[in-house]
Amino acid sequence: MSFIENVKKVDALIVGTGPAAAACAKRLVDAGCETVALESRELPRHKACSGILSPRGHRFLLENFGPLPKEILHTPSSASGVTFHFPSMRSVSINFDGGPTPHLHRKYADHWAMLRSGAEIHDQTEFTGLSDKGTHVDVAATRDGLPVNYRARFVIGAEGPSLAVVRAVYPDYARKIPWFVVGQKFHPIIDCPLDDRYFHFWFNAELGHYTWSHARDGRQIVGVGFLKGDNFDARHQRVVEYLEKKHHVRLGPSESPEIVTANFGPSLINRYIFGRGRVLITGQAAGFFNMIAEGMSCALHSGAVAGEAAVEAFRTSKDIQRIYRGMIASEVRRCSDQWNPLEIAFGRPHEADFRAALKRLAPGERRGVIREIFSFIRLYAPLKWGRQILWQSVCRRFTGRYPSNRWL
């Protein structure tokens, strides 16, 4: 049988079945586009993630996919906000603006949203490569070890940090960006004074770049993030000991370790990657990450924008990259603003009022907290992002946007 006879022709092919893929699929299917989503694993598939969604993401899910069924939530089913802990043992709790937000069970939540999108899902089908022909894109994949071929008018890479589509379009990209390792272990709880309504985050350079903990299904998650190359177990153990010593958190032996790598950085320095030709990149693969590494809400919104751009391109025959890059600018602003020191100082980029929480502290305490935040930020100095962040912040302040010439 020839390639043409054996190929599945679709309007749009989405690689990935996470939130960005579901949102993108929803927009495409609503507009009547024949849409297929590829997933390398069997669905529903596991996803290592805190599962704490921002209020904006919560709104998106409700407005686009309907009320959340209980099955897609962990226990506790919601988080009220974030508690920041500092080395001086100061703690600041901040509630989310929109009230408590869902604690998603990603395995089922992603699958639920994907099913609700109405797209055709091909799971256990691994994307292996693509060829942009100018008028369409030929996509190669494998299922049960056998080749499967697709021909799509547009391809949307929403594959998260695996960057499968990104690697096919920009083979060198993954090698050029710093990679973080984010690992988490689950512990039985013996005694945990940490408030289980909050996501806990430590501004403590001694513990690592990204240290968090929260309750889930009767266990406590202890997570650490660090630059690739460090030792996860040692880092994790250090945090467990710190929690016991400083917060009197007594946990049982760890279970079910999970490690993922994260392309945490493009949103800080406005170095997003949005694709080339008829291939769009969206969600975490494009570099979207909110503050506290919450990636789901910007994945949902950027995924929806990718879908809208494809629909617009179908209807107008205009260059899809131009449409996408124009539309995605608002999401870039929302996401990068969260890391922008000038926006943090003079604006209100987060969905929790950190400034009001600081104001509630005594002046001396407040100064101490700010000092400790700056001390923590120094941990990122080797990445040499400081000047880039500052320059992007200035551009944003004076032009109202982040320069699009830094996007790939």
Binding site: E63, F65, P67, S77, P102, I189, D217, V305, M327, S330
Partner: protein, 525 residues
């Protein structure tokens, strides 16, 4: 207790502790009810049986994917949905048969006229899309009783052309004359003569309606009055309007005058004064941002024009073109860094002026066809490929504040925008005004303002435009106003704006009238 026992106990306690509030329920966002405003596609159950039944009755249903694709969005261009099939409306009997079968097979039916909705109200998220443009005849003109009977799918500009042959004209119509008659009656229809004549829905004398259960009924203020009041301003929930008898008037050319303001507040206050005192036959405000605020005033007769200039002109704080031009020149001379804005205003003026005074539609300084001039030009220069027009409908007291707050939101989101403001005369306290664009606290007159970004070539994501619209609508919730467009994607605001009690009352009426809830299912409820 051993460590493992404690851990198991603690885990059980955490899991089983009852939650007083469901924090992830649709109404959990700080008490803001959130709904699925971008509906899931209907599952198609019963579709084949439904289509078979219709075809057995010689009703054609087009299921061609390409054809359905033409109906996938509306003028708003933000909501997308694909019907399973499309039927071109042919007669009340045909629609009756469709709705009877739809009730039986529980198939959603979405009715579309001109498709000038902006929030996806005329977009079918599956099911049947009934295209009313198949019923677009003007049936009869009664010059003696000054009425016209027309099918509901007729465009306003067609209606105007037919009436013109008899020297007649419609009373008030929406600014975009490619709206259909039936669609307009279901939502309102506001013109710059609405301060004098009310909205289009108030010009209806009688209607032929096919109820959601398929009964064909004639209704008016004296016959089936309940149905008449429910269907007018009813957002298509209580029946399909198939024919309407509308009041008409003698056709007259229009004399137009413009007054320019640099202050929104002054212009709005002056507009309210003119509306209150019935000083002009037509009046409204169109702006370019909040920099050039244009109060337009027009007259059907020389007598009214003379009376205006004798009694009201001197009370207006607006300037003539020359005076305003000099003020603007001085304003921007002191702010040279805003030269871009000044050039934009100048360019816009040069574009608009000839368009609103087209030589081929002018005679002795009068516009001889306001339908063409307003209908074409307003939308040519104010509309875009995507119509993003959130609005606020307020009582007189709240009007100025609502506009000033909405203007601040426009500034935050867009460099260029326009506001369109009018007054609407209310004809007493009518049932039709309940849960409509008429704010509950309005007496005598209501006021409306549309906030429309001029998008130009810039592409914006739906989320960005939606965020803009939400922020305008939040003003309405805070100020307890109403909206002209509250269905479709904005229906999350319905309960917040009108309250649960009123919405439940209308929902109960809807359930009674439409047991399977099949008619325009994603618009309001």
């Amino acid at each position: 207790m051993k460590g493992s026992d404690i851990s198991a106990f603690a885990a059980a306690a955490r899991v089983s502790s009852p939650a007083a509030i469901d924090h992830v329920a649709p109404d959990s966002l700080k008490g803001i009810p959130r709904r699925q405003t971008n509906p899931a596609r209907w599952n198609g159950k019963g579709w084949n049986e439904f289509v078979t039944a219709l075809r057995a009755r010689n009703i054609e249903v087009c299921e061609n994917r390409q054809t359905c694709g033409f109906y996938s969005s509306d003028s708003g261009g933000l909501a997308y949905g694909m019907p399973h099939g499309i039927t071109l409306a042919g007669s009340a009997a045909q629609i009756s048969a469709i709705l009877k079968q739809a009730q039986l097979h529980r198939v959603p039916v979405t009715v579309k006229g001109g498709g000038l909705t902006t929030e996806g109200e005329s977009v079918a998220f599956g099911g049947l899309l009934l295209d009313m443009r198949g019923m677009s005849r003007v049936i009869s003109v009664d010059a003696q009783n000054m009425t016209v009977r027309a099918e509901a799918g007729v465009y306003w500009h067609t209606l105007a052309e037919v009436l013109r042959r008899d020297g007649l004209d419609y009373l008030s119509a929406p600014l975009n004359l490619t709206s259909s008659l039936g669609g307009t009656l279901a939502v309102g229809g506001i013109d710059i003569n609405s301060p004098r004549l009310g909205c289009s829905a108030d010009q209806a004398v009688s209607l032929q309606v096919v109820t959601p259960t398929g009964e064909i009924k004639e209704c008016s203020e004296t016959l089936n009055a309940d149905l008449f009041e429910r269907v007018l301003l009813g957002y298509g929930q209580f029946g399909v309007i198939t024919e309407a008898t509308m009041r008409v008037r003698k056709f007259t050319p229009v004399t137009m005058h413009y007054f320019y303001y640099g202050s929104l507040r002054e212009a709005m206050e002056d507009l309210q004064m003119l509306v209150r005192e019935d000083a002009a036959d037509y009046c409204g405000i169109l702006t370019i941002m909040d920099k050039a605020v244009n109060l337009l005033v027009a007259f059907d007769s020389d007598g009214r024009e003379r009376a205006f200039f004798a009694g009201w002109r001197k009370r207006l704080r607006g300037h003539g073109e020359l005076g305003f031009g000099l003020r603007m020149a001085w304003h921007y001379a002191l702010r040279p860094w805003r030269v871009g804005e000044a050039l934009y205003l100048l360019g816009r003026k040069q574009e608009l002026e000839p368009a609103f005074n087209p030589a081929h539609f002018m005679e002795d300084g009068r516009i001889i066809d306001r339908a063409v001039v307003f209908g074409n030009q307003v939308w040519k220069f104010w509309g875009g490929r995507k119509m993003v027009i959130p609005d606020l409908a307020t009582s007189a007291d709240k009007f100025v504040e609502a506009i000033e707050r909405g203007n601040a939101v426009c500034k935050k989101y867009f460099p260029r925008y326009t506001l369109y403001c009018v007054g609407i005369k209310l004809s007493g306290r009518r049932e039709r005004y309940e849960m409509s664009c008429v704010p509950p606290d309005a007496a005598g007159f209501a006021y409306g303002c549309e906030f429309e970004p001029i998008l130009g070539d810039t592409v914006y994501s739906r989320e960005y435009l939606q965020a803009f619209k939400n922020e305008i609508y939040e003003i309405g919730v805070e100020m307890k106003t109403s909206y002209y467009r509250f269905g479709g994607m904005m229906k999350g605001y319905i309960r917040r704006a009108f309250g649960d009690e009123l919405v439940e009352k209308h929902l109960a009426m809807k359930r009674l009238a439409d047991p399977a809830m099949i008619l325009n299912p994603d618009v309001i409820f």
